[in-house]
């Protein structure tokens, strides 16, 4: 897998420090899971976080803090969190979330919801598009981050294959075209609603909020 499009450093630093919202973090994590290079950068920023801890002046502890903690060391560990059965086509980072069923939303294009809590109008979903189809129109009101999981699409800024990360904002208005050959599956965090184009889209839009 040759990954050519990565999140920028600010994004990786926000992700590593824990200040990026959950929907966008999930898409970044899907990329990081596939990209050793960004994993190293995230590890470096976590080291940076560790160094900031080392350099922080110590706060006064609550009285008896150490003894309180020592007394709790032998308590049973909390049970391991429940993970969902991995759905087909789902990256491992989605295991903690409910994932909806694929729904047809237009010729060659399917959509399914990922139950990541919404943050400032940003939601997570997956798109699956047939070779040669165009992904729904990217005219939107805020961030739209995509990690390609399978297949590839192209738009004005290049080709995006497995593992590639695409961050678009409202200054970008493009229509990604899925390459011939393989079905394209993407994980997307999007602010605002997806616009369905054409007569079919206008017909469907009242019924499905995408």
């Amino acid at each position: 897998m040759t990954i050519t499009h990565h999140p920028d450093e600010e994004t990786l630093l926000a992700f590593a420090s824990g200040s990026l919202d959950e929907p966008r973090s999930v898409v970044v994590a899907a990329h990081v899971a596939l990209c050793p290079c960004c994993r190293a950068t995230v590890a470096a920023f976590e080291q940076f976080g560790g160094a900031l801890v080392e350099r922080a002046p110590p706060a006064a502890a609550r009285a008896g803090s150490l003894d309180e903690t020592l007394a709790r060391l032998d308590e049973a560990a909390p049970p391991a969190p429940a993970l969902h059965q991995p759905e087909p086509d789902c990256p491992g980072v989605l295991a903690p979330y409910e994932v909806g069923r694929w729904r047809w939303i237009g010729p060659g294009v399917h959509w399914r919801k990922v139950e990541v809590p919404e943050s400032e109008g940003t939601r997570v979903f997956m798109l699956k598009a047939a070779p040669g189809s165009s992904l729904p129109h990217h005219g939107h009101s805020g961030v739209e981050w995509t990690c390609v999981l399978q297949g590839a699409f192209r738009h004005d800024l290049g080709r995006y294959g497995p593992g590639d990360f695409d961050a678009a904002d409202d200054t970008v208005d493009h229509t990604p075209l899925v390459e011939e050959g393989d079905i394209c599956i993407c994980l997307v965090a999007m602010q605002g609603d997806l616009e369905l184009r054409g007569w079919l889209g206008r017909l469907l839009q009242p019924f499905v909020r995408l």
Partner: protein, 189 residues
């Protein structure tokens, strides 16, 4: 309460974690606690947590260190970086507003499951060296805005107010710091 531990080297910290993993060494735990707990508390309070919650989370972090000591891999991260990630994940879990929020788990799931040897031996040691060089090479005022913005979650406008500097200065310091960090860390791969 034992007096706070003043400083710790990456080697000593790793030895202490190993002592916990191999023989449940409570003295080693006390040393780790003495150094890290008060500092994690500070970092969490700077990030907006109330003192009591920060204290609880610092304790939880060290309890997790005790429980997970056997899984600590010194090749992959220094103890400080590892503890930072534990505290980060516990903080995210503690402050989540929705039961479906699972970001704290995502950080662990994204790492490869296999424990293959790293490409570079002592990768974590080399990374620690670079990050230390970066921190020493950056002007303190730039480190501070990175800390305020990313690690303490402040909006740029709030940073300007806190530091009493214009918004443009906040942005230019962040830009300069990121450029320097890129130079220091960019050749990771």
């Amino acid at each position: 309460m034992r007096c706070g531990v003043e400083s710790i080297t990456p080697q000593i910290a790793a030895t202490l974690v190993r002592a916990i993993a191999s023989r449940g060494d409570r003295e080693a735990f006390k040393d780790l606690f003495g150094f890290y707990a008060p500092r994690i508390k500070t970092v969490l309070m700077r990030g907006g947590a109330a003192a009591e919650i920060a204290e609880d989370l610092a304790q939880e972090t060290l309890i997790a260190v005790w429980r997970k000591a056997a899984s600590y891999d010194p090749q992959k991260a220094t103890v400080s970086a590892w503890i930072f990630t534990i505290a980060r994940n516990l903080r995210i879990d503690r402050f989540r507003k929705d039961q479906r929020a699972q970001l704290h788990q995502v950080y662990e799931l994204m790492l490869p499951a296999e424990t293959d040897p790293p490409d570079v031996p002592f990768e974590a040691v080399e990374r620690e060296r670079r990050v230390r060089a970066a921190l020493e090479g950056l002007p303190q005022e730039q480190v501070r805005v990175v800390e305020l913005s990313f690690f303490e979650g402040n909006a740029h406008g709030d940073i300007a107010t806190k530091l009493g500097i214009p918004l443009g200065t906040v942005k230019s310091r962040l830009r300069l710091a990121m450029a320097r960090l890129r130079d220091f860390l960019g050749e990771n791969s």
